[in-house]
Subunit: 430 residues, 2 copies
């Protein structure tokens, strides 16, 4: 076997292979429009400009009376200013006329302020104290049924309790910046300025292909020598969680023809094909057998297979088939999942426009341990309430059920052969 | 208006109203089964027991030779033990026979260890060094084509490189505990032991109903006095993000009959109805007009309306309509969103089985500020790279576009009337 390459080298090679997927210009060029109802957690492809101002029209911030400020300048609790109430402005559709000088109009929160009016006197600053509901007064909507005059008890400056059109956002202004991961309050802002559909990044399309003559689907009855395919469901879920779409989720035995056909179907419709199995040193390694012929070390010309100095997940391949990037992960379920986290997750999240803030943190590892020289190890760990991390399940790459108890991968550098209990180490979130 | 109730009181009352949704026994009783492909981020309703052991059968941890340990006890680099190779065991379907004493069988990683064999000698501890691929040697699968004998260079103890059946998990053992939020590595564990479908909690079913004669849908052309409905899209997204399902997303004007019909449709098919608008002090408050009659302070007998000592989001209602819990949020988009975060989000996440770890944290607020006495204020803030929080957009509850720039709500206690720049305050994540 050729010399092992470092984890860092393989990470860099995978990132270079997938750079076109991450490229900003290419991603923006492949955006799509979705309805607001489908836009939660999608990533805005371009700045969103407001088609309408918010507020669209000058409106009242309070239930009260629209007035001209100059008409109530002398108002005070001991010296109320009495104004005739010439009408009522509810919130709702319909044009609103002008307010005559020296008069007031009842107005509801959010209702358009009549032309000529330049302030709103809150109902609590008037003598009537509270409204009589129009229905109680026998009036119909829009009638001046509740009061024919109002006593204003306090002066108001021009603009008081009036929300000017565009005071939140102007028509044509940027409401949301490109790259925003759309949360509920972003959708509220888009809706408020009249946007019904938003342009978002397409999600990276990933085909997931499990290989191995021994595989059967979970739920089937296995015969002798058969094992359940854990990699298909797990890698598909990992792709989705990273912001990708799974285009194909298939299984192939170790027959070269069947694998070749499955791969052709996968490459036809995906930005990336992810295989598991068939890449180690055994006699029947279908992925390696079919793809290992012609790359000559050039991942643009085929798939390059190599051993990475890492446990689990050492046997790796990366390259191009029919113009589509392909990553080949090992078949052991723990190895495949660790491969995803270490080599692909960050890149896929970047391609989806959703890079995580801290893919790697540091934690105190409660257990002492040993590690083979020259191999970076990714051990399974579980966080304690005190923030420390205990190792779980042992190092075996077949311990897939035990891995379910883990919530982090503990990253043991290649040059570390042993560590004491309580050592600070890097951990990857699962 | 009646006296204002505290935020804490209204939180407690809403939690009590929705306690049946959060009740563990009721949630488990309403579980559903979904395929693994649909199970990501769902919450396991019951402990998942392994239908099959993992590994299902004793298998090899390495590519190498299955032997009896006693036959290679004297092996050493200078004194190899030569064994006849009687066959080959690839990974894959098919029964495997017994290994004769004094012999070896080529074996691939994951392949069943033949009866009688009790150790695997890795290929690197044998004289052949590497396998000759069966295809290169002209042999067919299963042939003993590559070698007719093997020189073993090192002794092996019983059990070396043999994965025993059930060494990861035994049949009938608990693989995943009830309450697990299913991540990719959990799905891997379920699949590995043969599980194709999992029993998960049903998601809380929530109807979202926007009210107001002034509302039009985003994307429509608004007439005079009309505004876009921001609350429908935003509250629906907030429900989904908290783990709920939106059963109805509707708009109703302020006609009592239309609202009553929309509400009846909503209550028929939801665990909770969420209205926005129509609850403040104006003359046309359809939610309050229709529902405010008969509760007499008892939320089990109707909807209780109250003023909560909070800005924004003061006017609130909670109660029961046709046996279904109803919360009535105010119509200003900022108020509605703050109401969701402060009163409903935690409860809904608990009902969905996904309570967040830290709904509220503490942060240094960069700006000084003032606040009205007796009102808890929820201001919009944005985190700086240094961890501090700047206030954005002003306190107005109509500033929905400005709220898009925020990522936290800054929680100003009711008894605080002013604070200095740099004060530590509680913040809610948006």
């Amino acid at each position: 076997m050729a010399e092992r390459v470092s984890v860092e080298q393989h990470q860099a090679d995978v990132a270079a292979l997938l750079a076109p997927l991450v490229d900003g210009a290419r991603r923006r060029a492949r955006s799509e429009e979705v309805a607001l109802a489908d836009a939660l957690d999608r990533v805005l492809a371009t700045d969103l400009l407001a088609p309408h101002a918010v507020p669209r029209f000058r409106n009242s911030q309070m239930d009260g009376y629209a007035v001209r400020a100059c008409d109530v300048a002398d108002a005070a609790p001991g010296a109320p200013v009495r104004l005739p109430v010439l009408g009522e402005v509810p919130a709702g559709p319909g044009a609103v006329g002008d307010l005559a000088p020296g008069a007031a109009a009842r107005i509801m929160t959010g209702a358009p302020v009549p032309g000529g009016a330049d302030a709103v006197v809150p109902v609590e600053d008037t003598a009537t104290g509270t409204f009589v509901a129009a229905s109680d007064a026998g009036g119909a909507r829009g009638d001046d049924a509740a009061a024919h005059h109002v006593d204003v008890l306090a002066p108001r400056a021009v603009g008081d309790f009036v929300r000017e059109s565009g005071s939140d956002v102007g028509a044509g202004d940027v409401v949301l910046g490109a790259g925003t991961v759309l949360a509920p309050h972003h959708l509220a802002a888009a809706a408020a300025c009249g946007v019904a559909r938003v342009r978002v990044l397409v999600r990276p399309r990933v085909a997931v292909l499990s290989t191995g003559a021994e595989l059967v689907a979970p739920g089937e009855e296995p015969g002798p020598g058969q094992v359940f395919d854990a990699n298909g469901p797990a890698l598909a879920a990992a792709v989705r969680r990273a912001g990708g779409v799974v285009t194909t989720l298939a299984r192939s035995g170790d027959d070269a023809g069947a694998f070749t056909r499955a791969l052709a179907a996968a490459t036809a419709d995906a930005d990336l094909v992810l295989t598991s199995g068939g890449v180690s040193q055994g006699a029947y390694e279908v992925v390696k057998d079919v793809l290992g012929g012609g790359a000559g070390g050039d991942p643009a010309a085929g798939v390059v297979f190599r051993a990475v100095a890492m446990q689990p997940g050492g046997p790796q391949g990366f390259g191009t088939v029919d113009g589509t990037p392909v990553l080949t992960f090992p078949g052991n379920p723990v190895s495949a999942q660790v491969s995803f986290v270490v080599f692909l997750r960050d890149v896929l999240e970047q391609a989806a426009g959703r890079p995580r803030e801290r893919p790697v943190g540091r934690a105190r590892v409660v257990d002492a341990g040993v590690s083979p020289a020259g191999r970076r190890q990714l051990l399974r760990g579980v966080r304690s309430p005190d923030g420390g991390v205990r190792l779980v399940g042992g190092p075996g790459s077949h311990l897939v059920a035990s891995m379910a108890r883990a919530d982090v991968l503990v990253d043991v550098p290649a040059d570390v052969t042993g560590w004491d209990a309580g050592t600070q180490m890097e951990v990857w979130e699962l």
